[in-house]
Symmetry: C2
Subunit: 159 residues, 2 copies
Amino acid sequence: MSDDHDHHDDHELRVSKIRSGTVIDHVRGGQALNVLAILGIDGSDGEEVSVGMNVPSDRLARKDIVKVEGRELSQDEVDVLSLIAPDASINIVREYEVVEKHRVERPDVVEGVLSCPNAECITTGGEPVTSQFEVLDDGVRCSYCDTIVREEIASLIDT
Amino acid sequence: MSDDHDHHDDHELRVSKIRSGTVIDHVRGGQALNVLAILGIDGSDGEEVSVGMNVPSDRLARKDIVKVEGRELSQDEVDVLSLIAPDASINIVREYEVVEKHRVERPDVVEGVLSCPNAECITTGGEPVTSQFEVLDDGVRCSYCDTIVREEIASLIDT
């Protein structure tokens, strides 16, 4: 790859290449912090992470990018991201080369990650019960109390 | 600046140069999301922001970097950052050149930004009272109820 190409990439991406890890690209503009929350990343574990927010993009008007160094995210881990970033593409990088590239797919069920907004739900009452939501075409439904959330799914993210 | 120099910088910084705005460098590793919270940035306003977390650094073992495109932060805005990132340096950038460079200084008083942890405090009871803390050498004290917080100041950040 020529220097010019690198420069073009850097300018476009606003965050530099990683050596090995996972690049989550084409995240909807403004959703990067929710992506980090879903992945359980807040920086306190010392993970090397870079984030670009509201970067100009061809495919989306504005996109976010999250790059996680030294960690290859599994399909299960990233599929939950489809709830807030349905257009996201996942690139697994080894030694600066993309070795796998795939899209997020809506999972049937999400365990943990989200908190039920119903204060009466057994999953929110301090009991040792992991939250579980069925994924609908247009939202999620709590498997325990049947509460349906269609918008603002990001507000359910368990931080 | 030569291409080689640019490349070195990019590799070191993990986030690319910005055209105009503010670079907050030498933030303590793992504090970048708290910096964003203090600055009121969550991506939803469309601000172009890039963040590097736990980047290897000479001065600190690991550092975070936050770059805000198109916004020159004032000394007042950044001084609050001293509570969680006392070593931070602030660079004001115009047309890719650093035109101002300064350090954060501990303010005497912080208005807003932090929430009092005392549930009985007038600032937390839904009254239209803005929180206010005096900055001590080793923590902060609520100006209304005198509650002192010495550690985990980050947990008081009003998100």
